[in-house]
């Protein structure tokens, strides 16, 4: 029995004392067990379901337009009604993103975005009263160290990760780390996912499932087809407790329409857009933040009030 033997070897207490320096361990020096920490997202959805209203989830890349201004932007989002903030980690090769988020990510990288600083954004969102999620392409987390990221993220008050290019089948290390730290695992589904795939995702997800409103990459669209309503229903039938819809949702009217049937509505590019001018360059910060505040507030009103 492993525990006893460790204790024999560590009878003098020295090793136990060393353990205070290990991040992912209990005070007695054992690796963390399963956290059983309640999921902040689940709690929020339960609360909102009782009030019969959908949640508003907003996305911005961290470090865009620059690290400090992005903290302002996250605060602005929460102050204007964003319930859950999806903090994007800019990546050099974002295959699920359309031109607006690609451009914003490149601007952030050029302006000195560093992954280790994202925890400031997590704290900012948490302190403002929002639920902080990080959305990241998997290589960034893998490279930082999955366990290390989970530890730092949980310490900063993070709630969970959205992983656009990590499917449950490849997520062993993340499932383990998220179990140990009590973090939410948000996987995606898409309109042509089979029922079996929906079941795999629902079974492994924690917090909610992210349903893509259409096939394709992120970006604003003037029209929204009805395939997401069916996808939400199918995903629920496959066992998912909470299903939120994003990708291509950009206006208050679209948000209100999706909010009729989804537990949460996710908006990204439309918010990113408020900080850019017509040429795609970064806007004056005061103007940008004011536009962000207005757009956020309009979306939040429409989404929160859509079932009334």
């Amino acid at each position: 029995m492993r525990e006893t033997i460790e204790i024999i070897d560590n009878g003098d207490g020295e090793v136990i004392a060393d353990m205070t320096e290990t991040t992912a361990a209990t005070p007695s020096g054992q690796p963390l067990g399963i956290a059983h920490r309640p999921s902040p997202c689940r709690r929020l959805f339960a609360d909102y379901k009782a009030q019969d209203k959908p949640a508003f989830i907003g996305y911005l890349p961290f470090g865009f337009p620059d690290p400090d201004l992005s903290l302002e932007a996250f605060r602005t989002m929460v102050d204007n009604g964003t319930d859950i903030v999806e903090i994007g980690l800019p990546y050099s090769d974002p295959v699920m993103d359309g031109p607006v988020i690609q451009a914003a990510s490149q601007i952030a990288l050029r302006n000195g975005e560093r992954i280790a600083d994202v925890f400031r954004a997590v704290e900012t969102v948490a302190n403002a009263g929002g639920v902080p999620l990080v959305m990241s392409y998997w290589n960034l987390i893998f490279h930082y160290g999955v366990e290390r990221f989970a530890t730092d993220f949980a310490n900063a008050g993070g709630a969970g990760l959205i992983t656009p290019d990590l499917i449950p089948d490849e997520a062993g290390e993340w499932i383990e780390a998220s179990d140990r730290h009590g973090l939410d695992r948000i996987f995606l589904v898409s309109p042509d996912s089979t029922d079996e795939r929906l079941r795999v995702v629902a079974e492994n997800a924690r917090g909610f499932v992210y349903a893509a409103a259409r096939m394709g990459v992120t970006g604003e669209r003037s029209t929204l087809n009805d395939s997401s309503r069916e996808l939400v229903a199918r995903t629920r039938a496959a066992g998912a407790e909470n299903v939120c819809v994003g990708i291509g949702v950009s206006t208050p009217a679209q948000g209100a329409a999706v909010g009729q049937y989804a537990d949460g509505v996710i908006v990204g590019s439309a918010l990113v857009h408020t900080l850019l001018d017509e040429q795609g360059d970064v806007r004056d910060p005061v103007q940008g933040l004011s536009a962000l505040a207005n757009t956020t507030a309009a979306l939040a009103d429409a989404i929160h009030g859509c079932r009334r």
């Binding site: 059983h36 050099s92 090769d93 699920m96 499917i167 490849e170 499932i175």
Partner: protein, 694 residues
Amino acid sequence: MSVLDELVAGALEDQRDRARVTSLDELKAMAASAPAPMDAKRWLRRDDGVPVIAEIKRASPSKGHLTDIDDPGSLACEYARGGASAISVLTEGRRFLGSLDDLDAVRAAVDIPVLRKDFIATDYQIWEARAHGADIILLIVAALDDDTLGRLLALTHELGMTALVETHTRQEIERAIASGAQVIGINARNLKDLRVDVGRYAELADDLPDDVIKVAESGVFGETEVEDYARAGADAVLVGEGVATADDHELAVERLVKAGAKVKASEAQPLSTHHGPYYGRFGGRYVPEALVTALDELERVYEDAKRDPEFHKELARLNKQYVGRPSPLTEAPRFAERLRERTGLDARVFLKREDLNHTGAHKINNAIGQALLVKRMGKTRVIAETGAGQHGVATATVCAMLGLKCRIYMGQIDARRQALNVARMRMLGAEVVEVTLGDRILKDAINEALRDWVTNVRDTHYLLGTVAGPHPFPEMVRDFQKVIGEEAKEQLRDWYGIDHPDAICACVGGGSNAIGIMNAFLDDPRVNLYGYEAGGDGPESGRHAIRFAPGTGELGMFQGAKSYLLENDEGQTLDTYSISAGLDYASVGPEHAWLKEIGRVNYSWATDGEAMSAFKDLCETEGIIPAIESSHAVAGAYKAAADLKTRGYEHPVMIINISGRGDKDMNTAGKWFGYLTDEQSKALEANGAQGNNA
């Protein structure tokens, strides 16, 4: 008194209490009527997985209370449904809060082997285990002297049970083996931080006899540890807290069982027929969920086609009548002479002439195969990426032949380097999209193709050009390219009367031509395999596409697969550079990463200068103009020759894969060698058809 001594003493005291109620003779009678013991050894080792022993565990001395278990029998059933191979039941009551009632409940509930885990030091306890239906018992070497250990083991075996003999030092392992232990549990905690130290496990488990079953006992919690232990050679794992405290016990066990099976499958031999998605630690599917349905469909259609003789007939017909296969295997005596002058090695050199295929490179082998699958899937639109333009041309060509709509993505920098190939693709009816995002090279073209695919996956096939990307691409592209090596093997024998080559040289970008020529020889250890990456200005310069040399690539996920990757200290993909657009890629096919890790292929690099010098050598000696990509393989032949010489070869037979022809590279070469005047160079630059400008 140590904690172990205390636990043993407590267990013995409890045993004496029980013995006052139930005598040894009564136990023996109970044992006689207990269910016959199962041969647990047969459950604890298998070729296709890593058996999981799942534990009924309420508490431990180090972590205290873990979880309430009101119904151990139903928990054991959940474990069994998740695929556990055996159930471990703690029967120690003082610190682990277990009991023999737990053992009874579990025995009654499951029909897989059951382990009694307690501090066993007497014959009575072993009889007791058997009387309660146990198939396995735990013996802790540290708690027993040699005589007792030997006696208890003998009794265990006599009763038809198996002993899991727990050790945690080299010395204890030796004692266990000397006592006749057949199943050894290894505790490999790093005592510094109590984390699992698989390195220490490997050290401890090293050179254990083959017939001893090795069970990793310490710190197995989730898939990470199962995978690490399995790769370190553990036969089975024992897991407690990770499954006992999970919200869904069945799912928790199932995940561990899958992780073990994945590792076993990822290491399966023979190499030449290895199946994806995993190649050792590499490969997989790191893609958006939106692509999984399409990848599954592709895999299914491909598996179906592989079994269909009509598909093979059609592919063979097109290869012969349209591509012009087989491509010749040409002896290169004058080049061999130059090789001898340069290296002192007297080799016979043969060139596999993929440059003579229709469209001028090996790329068409794969393009035709996949295009036939597109027809089978009923899709109507094909997209592809291209670097040097060879794969784009091949794809545009087969799409024209089969009447498929075709769009090619090409990084803007590559498109300028290869303006003539852009024109060829357009001529063939393809739409060519210059990608102006990111670094504007091959990887950015792949990103755009992936975005297109995610959006249009219902009617569109992504005809990926190399052995990279998500499963099934690495396996499928390998299968369509392996004809290169199969032909070479046959031609060497039939045309030249040589049984086998001693060495094969190929260039490695994504790695499809290299896998293509090497596959037929992977399982023949007589054949030395050499792969050459694009060295650019050399590894120290930072301007290169070398993924395998120390200090270059790292383990990472890129464009669908886990492999070696050139990335910065933030995990962002690095800008790569090579004079050859076709080798200018930040990652490399996962099978190559595995072949490097297991030491089957010797990977090195050739710089721009070395490649261009070899380009000229082959032109001058054999009248063959190789693609600049292939010139890296020719340059590599000098390095391979030097290696063969130091290893004692005197007259080796070498094959160099000439993956493509160099017509497309004449602008770059003309500039490099100064055959073009400044004015001519400038004119070409104005046309965008320049070479070395990345």
